[in-house]
Amino acid sequence: MKKLFYTLAAVGFVIVTANSARSQEDVVDIHKQIETLGNTKPIPVALSGFTGEGAEVLKFDLTVQGFSFVAPDAAQYLISGSDAGVVTGSLTDKFAKRVLLSRSYNGASLRRQAHAFADDIVFAITGKKGIGQTKIAYKSQPAGYGVGEIYVSDFDGANAQRITKDNAIVAKPAWAPGKLALYYTSYALDNPDIFYHSLTTGQRSKIAAYSGLNTSAAVSPDGSKIAMVLSKSGSANIWVCNADGSNLKQISHGDEDSSPTWSPDGSWICFATKHSERRRLAKVPAGGGTVQYLNTTGAPNPTEPDWSPDGKWIAFTSQMHDFNLCVMPVDGTNTPAVLVEGQNPSWSPNSRTLVFNRSMGYRQVLSVLDVFTKQYKDCARATGSSSQPAWAK
């Protein structure tokens, strides 16, 4: 993570200046919020003084982290400042009658400064690290199917950058934790193979290029191992190998396995499968062992599980008439909460927000969802169809 931070910092460093001695980092009130999936009331804030890109960024970032924008008299917190030239801003707790933050930002872009301010607001109110300065990777297809390319952008879709140019079918990008590097599937060599791609050198190498299917790479949280779907044994199953492709081992033997994801401690792999004629989510020890089936009652046909970095939740896609995003507690204490229409959920580093894709006509757009308030916003629109987002962690 340090390496990623420094690399990002080198690209665009935001310099923060405290405007007032009254705002000290140690006097932070943690907003007491009872967080229920899909039912949490947003925290009401009022925004004043921001007019341009700064206002747009603040509204996006705070909406998808559980805040709602209301008139000043209905607000609990007041956010005021300016985005003329550089971002300056303050945050006031109206009830406690106290200024929690008063800062100015310079360096990098105005957009980046506004994201940094949003992160400071989130931290001051919730005590959680904000997502404003994080990155995602995804695939984009001009026709909605067929050939596409892998892209990297800010989490809100801004500053999108194409990082492949193969004119091939691509799938399922996954970040190497703490590194500017991706794993993804590409048909560039006329077979679905998994590649590693350094985003600092551009160097690529094959990780899995066995006969048949090689896809759905998922990187272990410490970056040392890759789980994926291979069909080299004659059926599509979950396999695990070292980050460089060595030490390959088959760990599932179901008829219909897909989409592996790691528990944050690296000890389990959750995946989609079929059991007793029903589509199920299951987990298996990462080194192989007995498969345990998870209770997803109320969310039929689960696929695409993604385990949250804090270990509490598994997000997945349920196929009813449409596709729906669902989140369930890992400990099985509750059945899944069905949140919004969409597919391909990927958790933010702070385990509060999901990036996913949803249908707009016959194409897919990326969107960001706060799982507690169910508030979501679409990412900056790209041409074609964008899907399979992966949040950098």
């Binding site: 067929g146 079918i169 500017l180 551009g202 160097q203 094959k206 006969s211 492709g245 007793s276 696929t303």
Partner: protein, 202 residues
């Protein structure tokens, strides 16, 4: 505990039903794929085998992939490398599948037999089976489903005496629809396995 109490009698009932109807689930026969080779591991030591990716902050795109670099191993398909694709030869024998199913329907028997006899009649030819799905179903699920369809077709051919070593499979998931429409007619056409005859290089 409550769950077990409900599920167990259900499981018993189901088992009893299956036993009396004789409709038991036979595990899919699995034939390992010929030529599954280890990938080129550790590109940084062994030299890159795929070149020219983009970098962040760069111009956003690299050059194409250079397969000849670093030994240029194929994707585990050496036996098939350089063969000429003949998509027309068996185009009439594309087989179709039920929704979310990789089972070969009885009605496809004649197509499978036709493909088998085409292969038995030309010992130097090989076969590429392309598995495809309709657009209903999540992306990676469908990528696995397409592979299951291609593998099921391969097993059906193996039962008719075709050596599985002559067959390569590829799944396109929902990325290669034959009909880009969004209705039942398009979907039923897209749930398919295409047979591409491979001729040796002349």
């Amino acid at each position: 505990m409550k769950m077990n109490q409900i599920v167990f009698p259900l499981a018993l009932a189901l088992a009893a039903t299956l036993a009396t109807t004789g409709c038991k689930h036979t595990p899919m026969k699995v034939t390992p794929i010929y030529g599954s080779q280890a990938p080129n591991v550790g590109g940084e030591n062994g030299g890159p085998t795929i070149g020219g990716g983009g970098v962040m902050g760069g111009d956003g795109g690299g050059t194409g992939i250079n397969t000849s670099q670093g030994g240029g191993n194929t994707t585990g398909l050496d036996e098939f490398e350089g063969m000429i694709k003949d998509p027309a030869a068996l185009a009439a024998h594309t087989i179709h599948f039920a929704f979310d199913s990789a089972a070969i329907k009885k009605s496809e028997d004649s197509n499978v037999s036709a493909v088998a006899s085409a292969l038995s009649g030309s010992a130097n030819d090989k076969l590429l089976i392309e598995g495809n799905c309709d657009e209903r179903g999540t992306e990676e699920y469908n990528r696995a489903l397409g592979e299951r369809r291609a593998l099921a077709a391969r097993e059906a051919l193996a039962k008719r005496g075709v050596s599985p070593d002559r067959i390569r499979t590829i799944s396109y998931g929902k990325d290669k629809p034959t009909d880009p429409g969004h209705d039942d007619a398009a979907w039923s056409k897209n749930r398919r396995a295409d047979f591409i005859l491979l001729h040796p290089k002349p």
